[in-house]
Symmetry: C2
Subunit: 441 residues, 2 copies
């Protein structure tokens, strides 16, 4: 047999058990907090028909990054015969969780609660060029409220997201808020409406190219810098921008006030230069940043018209997402990750294969009491088995050899203190209780 | 905008919130039990290089069902220019969790505990023709012990799997056991070794075509029915089969004895006709069945040579899997699924938008106490908001209108009993405690 490479595909990752456990534990924290805020789970496939993923027809940046699934059998042959490369795939891996959610809500609109509060935690894929910190498979953690038009949706979603950062012990998070309607109001007649998104794409590069770079690119593209953009680039005090779009200015003010009450430990900023890339946003937009990180830790916005793609009537909706990978990285750097909270608590080495029965019996009873118990599967040298317990950081080792079995006792070693104590295994109920107390201590 | 279809791709499924919650709850049960048996989590991508997935070169049935990912950009163009259809994809969606695990263990063999006890719960994909009960994306729940050669690995994995069925309240599960070495010993010289797997593929159809069908197909293919197969098809008492392969017969006997002690509530059967499809099995194999279900609820086996595909030396390994979808279906039919254990416990309707601040404040404090609390995001008619609480089966509704706010009280309705009671919200600590007691009751 020829040797097959052991690395995952380029841009994809394996996680060692300790990192996998920390990821699982962060995932469970996020899930718990989203659920405590009343968001409910749904299930959707990880692949969608290409017509769904490309449905908006906008050719957005994310749509260009779809991993396509090759057609099979006769359909593939037909596509090849036609010689049209765009017809070789029939499905694609989802590139975000929002577009499939819109399809789902349009499908089930009669059955879902109104408003519909939903969370999703799972992988998405983008065929980006792999580079440091950018992966082709990564997790997103979304909350959405579909069917709610007032700012209560904004406050609920953003509060849930901020609560995750609080629960992780992550200080220094900044919440940047803006409103797409305010950005639209920056336009003057010198630029036609259908080209305004090009101007916003340039404004969106502010962090990378600075205000001078933005002005230069705008001037190059449009012959001039729109006066509205000059105002916000010049650092005009935001409270004087109200005249641009009084309605969105008022709603932003309410959102900021409510969030400042609810989350006084976060810095909340009205940032009139915030754009967020997606073309489907229609109102409030937000982004989470951290001073030690370029780019964002998450964000979202109001997308009142996305469901129309799937034939639904206009449906107000708001949602946001935590970028799991960046949050995980930041927590790792700050030493804020939980250890392996699911590691075994008690370990039975195996010295004598004739004692498999009693050991599996005791372990089974302890496991059914809710303890996490490990057994060594082979009769190996005791030293090797203790090394195993050390490597897995199991706090207690329960030694049952033939002498102990005859005396109906068991020796339990405390691996941290390097002490040991004998316990009688009769009556069994008392032994189980003693082990329960020991492990839960 | 033209309307995009709202259905998922053929063979893929959406889950409504109640079903998604039940799936999540079953997933967490399985995870908890696997962890209580000392299995640890790992992380692997859901896509692999095609060379990994096709690495065994055996062209097994599952390999034929790989969803391939289309190459991109210049590489796609190059593949098209060559005119070789087999070169159009570069990656594939994993079709099981075992082959990627073998790659992972080969990659990290120096860093992993020995033996390595691992669990995985996640989706796999197969490009099967969709039909009732057969999906293209489905969950598997695996436990594996890599690096253990004795029957302790068999017992640990199978016990953990049986414990899942016990925890779900699922009666009537049968465990069928066999050993691939015993199956090999059925061969006589009339059939060359390299064609023996063809005979086993026919034997594997026993459930579908019966013993006569198996005999007929064997006779057609090989000119005769191998005498060993005639012996097991004739229903010979299994304890007289020991002469075929004494070593595997002895180890099966030990496994059965240990499992009968540990899991006396399961029917454990030595079934000499059990084959299991995978060609990588080298020793013990097992399958979980239920009398009301055709096919299996899971299974697995020993695969001591699979890691060699990835250049590792021979590494003993044993693993097994629960078929999540079939288990879920059976639990659903038997009304054994958990309800939505994560539904909100308390709901705040919103009657007066000026009270958003106090409501979000109270809800935030309750949520940080660990309660699941929902708030209606829009100021809608109270009737509509109560209907929402009913639909989501939220047991308590906390009404805070302007009168209550002035009096610093809150009215809490018990939705099941249709009773209500007023609580003072001052002092706040006392109110929070009262709500905690109410919701945890």
């Amino acid at each position: 047999m020829s040797k097959v490479p052991v690395l995952p595909a380029s841009g994809f990752r394996d996680f060692l058990p300790s990192e996998a456990a920390a990821r699982l534990s962060l995932e469970e924290t996020i899930k718990r907090i989203y659920q405590s805020h009343g968001f409910q789970p749904i299930g959707m496939p990880m692949l969608e028909n290409l017509s769904t993923l490309q449905g908006k027809g906008g050719g957005s940046d994310n749509e260009k990054l779809i991993f396509k699934v090759l057609k099979r059998g006769e359909e593939l042959q037909r596509a090849l015969d036609k010689g049209d490369h765009s017809q070789l795939g029939d499905m694609g891996l989802r590139f975000d969780l929002t577009l499939p959610l819109a399809r789902y809500c349009a499908r089930f609109k009669e059955q879902l609660p109104k408003p519909f509060k939903v969370f999703q935690i799972g992988p998405v894929w983008r065929a980006d060029r792999p580079q440091k910190g950018r992966y082709r498979e990564f997790f997103q953690c979304d909350v959405d409220i579909v069917g709610a038009k007032e700012i209560g949706a904004e406050v609920e979603c953003i509060e849930a997201i901020l609560e995750v950062f609080r629960a992780c012990g992550m200080d220094g998070i900044e919440l940047h808020l803006n409103d797409r309607r305010l950005l639209s109001a920056l336009r003057d007649e010198s630029i036609p409406e259908e080209r305004w998104s090009e101007a916003l794409i340039i404004l969106d590069k502010l962090d990378k190219i600075g205000p001078d770079g933005v002005s230069r690119e705008l001037a190059e593209k449009f012959g001039q810098v729109p006066p509205g953009i000059t105002r916000i680039l010049s650092g005009e005090r935001v409270d004087t921008l109200a005249d641009l779009h009084p309605e969105s200015f008022a709603s932003l003010n309410q959102i900021v006030t409510l969030l400042e009450q609810a989350a006084p430990d976060f810095r909340i900023v009205f940032n009139p230069t915030l754009v967020r890339g997606q073309d489907y946003y229609t109102g409030t937009i937000f982004e989470l940043r951290h001073p030690e990180l370029s780019g964002s830790l998450g964000g979202g916005g109001r997308y009142n018209r996305l469901l129309e793609v799937f034939g639904s009537p206009e449906t107000p909706a708001f949602g946001g997402s935590i970028g799991f990978e960046r949050l995980f990285l930041l927590l790792q750097e700050k030493n804020l990750l939980a250890g392996d909270v699911f590691a075994p608590q008690l370990f039975f080495p195996l010295m004598d294969t004739s004692l498999r029965g009693p050991i599996h019996g005791l372990a089974g009873s302890l496991r059914r009491k809710g303890l996490r118990v490990d057994i060594y599967p082979d009769a190996a040298k005791l030293k090797k088995q203790f090394e195993y317990a050390d490597q897995r950081r199991i706090p207690y080792v329960a030694v049952l050899g033939s002498d102990e079995w005859k005396a109906k006792t068991i020796k339990v070693k405390d691996m941290a203190l390097r002490t040991e104590r004998s316990y009688s295994i009769e009556p069994i109920s008392e032994f189980l209780e003693q082990m329960e107390q020991l492990c839960k201590r």
